[in-house]
């Protein structure tokens, strides 16, 4: 009797292409961005009308590092340190404030209804309105920078924590009630872990906001070493497009790093067990 042979295993070809297939879309997108960037730089009138051929408005990618002498690099490094410090500490504080607020509001409906409108108000108020007040009260200090960053970044964390805390099923709560768990025990061993996927969703958004808060908030802190935000305006005033774009890219990179850090933490703490 003829054996029915199974179809030839596609293993060999399938083994190679997934790697490439996975990388292809992001690489393609990257290529499109670079191409568009070149297109923009070379289509702007008189972009290269300078004496040394450097760009006056938008430098093309290969000209990004023109003008990065030691003094300029040092300025960018100082600004990066200021903004990175503000964003990092601000982000951590925003997490603390956000989680505490979310947990507190989940415990008390009256607290929630009291606080919620104010939290929304802070969220939608442009920072330019609040910053002078903050600076008046605490001075133009690192504390003020932190407050601005926290104000910009905390809301998604608070809102998602509240949502996550509330989404714990009644049966799970009953398990803890029947076991005689204390309020604290319930919070630490049931509610917070159950809320963690939602909290991480909030962290993801807030990671970018913390960087924005640090960089944009910098515009209002006009004394001392400038952060990335103010440095960009200084470069603009001198039409140093290369350093200006490099500084902007660094700000973006910081945001990306924060985002990736949150993603990595989520992969470690949530992904193994979470199935929505």
């Amino acid at each position: 009797m003829n054996e029915i042979r199974p179809p030839a295993s596609p293993r060999t070809s399938a083994h190679r292409s997934p790697r490439l297939a996975r990388l292809a879309p992001p690489l393609a997108a990257f290529g499109v961005v670079i191409a568009g960037w070149y297109g923009l730089a070379y289509s702007l009138d008189n972009n290269f009308a300078s004496a040394d051929g450097s760009a006056l408005i938008i430098p093309p990618p290969h000209q990004l590092f023109v003008g990065l002498n030691a003094a300029t690099v040092s300025r960018i490094a100082s600004a990066t340190w200021v903004s990175l410090g503000t964003a990092a500490v601000g982000f951590l504080l925003a997490i603390l404030v956000g989680v505490v607020l979310g947990v507190a509001m989940s415990f008390s409906r009256s607290l929630e209804s009291a606080l919620w409108p104010w939290l929304i108000a802070v969220q939608v108020t442009p920072v330019i309105v609040l910053t002078p007040i903050i600076v008046r009260v605490v001075g133009a200090s690192f504390t003020a920078r932190l407050i601005v960053t926290v104000l910009i970044a905390f809301f998604p964390i608070a809102s998602n924590t509240l949502f996550g805390m509330r989404s714990v099923g009644t049966a799970l709560h009953d398990v803890f009630t029947l076991a005689g768990a204390s309020r604290w025990h319930r919070l630490i061993h049931l509610q917070l872990p159950a809320a963690s996927p939602a909290i991480f969703a909030g962290l993801r958004v807030s990671a970018g906001l913390a960087v924005i808060g640090a960089v944009v908030g910098d515009f209002f802190f006009t004394r001392g070493t400038p952060g990335l935000g103010r440095l960009i305006t200084f470069f603009f005033q001198d039409t140093r497009s290369g350093p200006m774009f490099v500084t902007a890219l660094i700000a973006a990179l910081i945001g990306l790093c924060f985002f990736l850090a949150v993603a990595a933490l989520r992969r470690l703490l949530v992904s193994p067990w979470h199935r929505p």
Partner: protein, 394 residues
Amino acid sequence: MASPLTSRVTRAVIAIVLGGALAACGTDATNTDDQNTPSTNVTTTNATDSAANAGQLATVCDSPVVVQTDWYPQTEHGGIYELLGDDYVVDAERGATTGSLVFRGTDTGIDLEVRAGGPFIESPVVTEMFLDDTITLGYVGSDVALSRYAEAPTLAVFNALTINPQVILWDESKHPGVSTIAEIAAEVRAISVFGDRPYMRYLVAQGVVPADKVDTNYKGVLMLATDDIAHQGFATSEPFRYANLESGAVATAYQLVHDAGWTSYPQNLAINKLRLEPLRPCLAALVPMMQQAQIDFIESPDRTVATILDVVERLDTTWSQSPELAAYAVATMERLGIVGNGTTPIFGDFESPRLDDFIARAVPILREQGLPIPDIVAGDIATNEFLDADITMP
């Protein structure tokens, strides 16, 4: 060298004669430099007769001559508006005022377009001069010319303001007896300036102002009444405004940053250096007119002040000027030598020792900021060659 008075009278006589001849014949007058200018033994000048060239301008300059200023129209720009004919039209959206270029009553046959700066331009003036081929001249301070020389070299052809009107000012009643920036820096909470200005970096490097007192947040708000700070301003403007504040007059005192060591020529008419050759003939004819127009303005500002006030109103922005402020500004410009001959009798020239000295002070400051400035000399960023050496402010 003949006395300034004699040459002036001589030239006036010739101007009348020639003007009459032009009117009668309606043809181009020939360049009569060697015959008509008695005194030629001064520095490199195309000693052209500015009056005679009024009619010639159309043959050497494109119309319109576009001047890009750095701010809203103000009396510091008087010399340029002096050349604007009464037929001017204001484009409020672009911030540009266009009219016939008229020199001392004679229509040159081409147009002048004066563009306001500040919020009307997306990039700084020097950048605009390279991005926009239609700009003939722009206001470029010597410090800015230095900063931008590597990639956007400019050449100043006429120094419209000899002394920089920029000051640091403070509330006199709160700080009596203080007369210098160094002294006030020690007493106030902060010194507020607009952005990361080189002159402030210079003052910090000199130890005049402590670094932690520099606040880059100045946006033009007159806050001495409510805040114990000092801030930047112009000798021609803020003291008057403060003295006439609706909320209560504030007596102010100030020091010019020039006197504190930042001796930059602040508001030079400059060209995009890459266009020097094509512009030569035009500059030869135009620069002496600008010299004379600036003097004419200071001596008899009323007509042009009215023009400026009218343009300001038509631009319809938050910027305002009043006849009283204009009068104060003109008087201050004369009193402090902001408009003046400098140390040489030539009006509007760049004086070498001073400019060389300034470059020596400024370049280290600018390089420390990260600006890539090559080793340049005064002649790279400024030239007296188009000036009429006989034009001097009485």
